[in-house]
């Protein structure tokens, strides 16, 4: 005999209530996916990083520029293929709320070191040729509605122009990224343009470079090269810390401190809340079905059958809600990117998040059905029939 049909009928016997339960679970599963994706998206930048690149930064402070003279010295160290300069610009586009990253860099080197950055050949050439040109990620281009050829004003905060005017960069290309370690929320421009402006007095601010990005020669491992660089500058003028791209990214995640813990706590509260909700629904259902349970038992079904019925029903409801929640999580990815792009440039719901959501659903479904199910299994048929509502 097929119990599936009975389960289905019973689950939908109160359509409004079934809908409410499924809705509540959908919302909760959506939240869990969202919270976990924040953490995994931050981690993705670390795990997807390339082992062929190492980064030299000041060992003293994230905000301390390294002297421009380091460029040649680092380039001469064994194992270093190319060195490019990266300077954090920190400009403001119209309003500080529009925060996004901007770097002054060496255009040809950047694109050679980062095959992850993809844009059409003619846009590359146009950028190389325009000293005041910039390329931007598709993410911010979409956010602000920028197009190739447009001029973007950025007010300098670390590097204000002496006259008080905003810097103007012409967008020469819009790039996409093929991996999670490179976001699509950044603007890159010519480092020499910044340096020349500081040299001529057109702009104010600290000279030098925030970090040097080094691509290793084939056959070289990162560690000995990093050690050689750091030893070279151990006595100053600025001590350096050179580490693989992954470790550099991991430092940023660590700096956010206990964010993952906070999100975990919230996730725990959400989980408990849906669990209560499901137990509640199933308990109510069980109370209404004393008589039905009694009938099943009088017909000779074993104790296990009512238990199984409840487990199936609650798992079915939770999985239904979970499926909707996961769909919402998948659907909302662009919206989340827009909302939190400044913090989590590569928001993405990972496959194992969906998997974790399914496991959670099954677990909550089984546990939620267990309490009323066991109670129903223990009912004496006669009493159940008598008590029935």
């Amino acid at each position: 005999m097929n119990l599936g049909r009975l389960v289905r009928r019973q689950a939908l016997s109160h359509p409004v209530r079934a809908f409410l339960t499924v809705g509540a679970v959908a919302v909760a599963i959506f939240l869990l996916c969202f919270l976990r994706s924040i953490v995994t998206s931050l981690d993705a930048a670390v795990t997807e990083s390339s082992g062929r690149r190492i980064i030299t930064a000041s060992a003293v402070s994230l905000f301390q520029a390294l002297p421009a003279s380091y460029n040649e010295a680092i380039g001469a160290i064994d194992g270093v293929d190319t060195v490019s300069r990266f300077t954090w610009f920190g400009g403001v586009y119209k309003d500080p709320e529009n925060f996004f990253a901007q770097f002054g860099t060496d255009p040809e080197l950047l694109l050679a070191q980062y095959p992850e950055i993809v844009l059409p050949e003619e846009q590359k050439q146009a950028w190389f040729e325009d000293k005041r040109g910039a390329i931007v990620g598709i993410g911010i281009a979409n956010k602000f509605g920028w197009e190739v050829g447009q001029t973007v004003p950025l007010k300098g905060t670390i590097y204000p122009q002496t006259g008080g005017k905003a810097w103007e960069f012409t967008i020469r290309g819009i790039y996409r990224s093929t991996r999670a370690n490179v976001d699509e929320m950044t603007l890159y421009f010519h480092w020499p343009y910044l340096d020349e402006s500081l040299e001529s007095g057109d702009a104010m601010g600290p000279r030098g470079t925030s970090v040097y990005l080094i691509r290793l020669e084939d056959g070289w491992e990162g560690e000995p090269v990093a050690q050689a660089i750091d030893e070279y500058y151990a006595g100053g003028p600025q001590r350096t810390r050179t580490q693989p791209e992954a470790a550099f990214q991991a430092d940023f995640v660590n700096m956010m401190g206990n964010l993952p813990t906070f999100l975990g706590m919230i996730g725990g509260a959400v989980l408990i809340a849906i669990f209560f909700g499901v137990v509640n629904t199933m308990t109510i259902a069980a109370r209404e079905r004393y008589r039905a349970t009694g009938i099943l038992k009088s017909l000779g079904f074993s104790n296990q059958v009512p238990l199984r019925l409840f487990l199936m029903e609650s798992t079915m409801l939770v999985l239904g809600g979970g499926a909707i929640g996961m769909f919402l999580a998948w659907l909302s990815q662009p919206a989340m990117k827009a909302m939190f792009g400044a913090f989590i440039p590569v928001y993405h719901v990972a496959q194992d998040t969906y998997l974790a959501a399914i496991v959670t659903c099954v677990a909550v479904g089984i546990l939620g059905g267990l309490i009323p199910g066991v109670r129903a299994a223990r009912l004496q048929p006669v009493e159940a029939l008598r008590r029935g509502v």
């Binding site: 409410l20 060992a59 401190g257 919230i266």
Partner: protein, 391 residues
């Protein structure tokens, strides 16, 4: 009889009889309220830290265009021009109560593990200590001796950060500095390390100052001074009171927490409404006969509606109170989070205040009310005779 309401005892007892279901729905609401309160207590604490320390008669001068000290840079000759402003109050020794200060977030190791955090080191002058006097208390060790490689450390840092205890030696670039004192401050200064500005400038090879702070003479029109200085071409400045400066440093994190709090709270609130509505619907369903009895006794549709709404509101109220109890232990709990504006680790405490709790209870009662609307309306529409017959 038509206009009589069902006595309050009725919804109350109904809840008691079905206490398991009532409690579970209340807990659902409690969870969402707790999360909402937790996030807002975090924001409260963070904002209070910044809003309650700055003085209104201390002016902060940054370089024009800068929005924080980290972005600013002021040359020494300009620092002296600020010090010579006539609005600046003279100190005990006759020198102006104005000081150049440097600021840089250092990479320092956490005390407990290998992780690095950004900790601000502030170079101060002797006048700085007098200017910040109200917000600054030395609690251990001794005062800074100017001219030597010494530092004093904010109390929350001294236990969280490696080499920051009294008597420790902290390496700043390639120069060792000795920790001679621990200080307390009600505000963001407590997450900083302070030392002699000239010694720190030498150790870091950063001769520029990041800001100038100055105490204004009594009677100076602060707003007019700020406006005049903002338009001063000779000395391009960003000028604000110390209090305004502190508040401006919270904006970014504050906003993110508000967005996150509202998003989470809103979504969880919807889930809680769905859950509570479910309980109430079931309650109405299983009490059809009761409703019939009530109606036959002469209670009107409105009375029944109010009775069931009261039940829902009581569930909401209970949920709100439980939620508040859950977050109360957070009050005063020390934590640290990254200030996105300055990118530095800031230590502060969760703050659960009366306003937050009141809002929480109101919101949860609202959740209960919304959840109860449909079920209560359904109950009130039941026809008495049919209701009696049906079950």
């Amino acid at each position: 009889m038509r206009h009589r309401l069902v006595p309050f005892r009725y919804p109350l007892r109904s809840l008691m009889v079905r206490w398991q279901a009532s409690l579970l729905s209340a807990l659902g609401i409690a969870m969402s309220i707790a999360v909402l309160c937790g996030v807002f207590a975090l924001r409260n604490g963070f904002e209070a830290l910044h809003a309650e320390t700055g003085s209104d008669d201390v002016i902060v001068y940054l370089r024009k265009g800068a929005t924080s000290e980290g972005e600013s840079g002021i040359t020494l000759d300009r620092v002296n021009m600020y010090k010579a402003l006539p609005e600046v109050q003279p100190g005990k020794n006759g020198q102006p109560l104005a000081a150049g200060e440097s600021y840089l977030a250092l990479f320092l190791a956490k005390a407990d593990d290998l992780g690095l955090v950004n900790v601000p080191i502030r170079g101060v002058e002797a006048a700085s200590l007098e200017i910040h006097g109200d917000a600054f208390r030395l609690v251990e060790g001794r005062a800074l001796a100017f001219g030597s490689d010494e530092i004093i450390v904010g109390r929350p840092l001294s236990s969280r950060i490696h080499s920051c205890k009294l008597g420790d030696t902290l390496m700043v670039n390639v120069t060792p500095f000795k920790v001679v004192g621990i200080f307390e401050s009600d505000g963001a200064y407590s997450s900083e390390i302070w030392g002699d500005i000239d010694r720190i400038a030498a150790a870091l090879e950063r001769p520029m100052r990041q800001r100038v702070v100055a105490k204004m003479r009594p009677g100076v029109d602060i707003a007019a001074h700020i406006e005049a200085m903002e338009n001063e071409k000779r000395l391009p400045s960003k000028v604000m009171t110390e209090r305004a400066y502190f508040i401006s440093q919270t904006g970014f994190l504050g906003n993110v927490l508000v967005i996150l709090g509202n998003l989470l709270g809103g979504i969880l609130g919807i889930a809680a409404i769905l859950g509570a509505a479910n309980t109430m619907l079931a309650a109405v369903g299983s009490r059809t006969r009761e409703v019939g009895v009530l109606r036959s006794l002469g209670f009107g549709q409105f009375a029944v509606l109010i009775a069931f709404l009261t039940e829902a509101v009581l569930i909401g109220l209970a949920g709100g109170l439980i939620g508040c109890l859950l977050v109360l232990p957070l009050d005063g709990l020390q934590t640290g989070t990254m200030n996105w504006k300055t990118f530095t680790e800031t230590a502060f405490a969760f703050r659960v205040d009366a306003g937050l709790l009141t809002t929480a209870v109101c919101v949860s009662v609202g959740l209960g009310l919304v959840a109860g609307l449909v079920p209560a309306w359904r109950a009130s529409r039941l026809k008495p005779v049919e209701a009696m017959r049906r079950s």
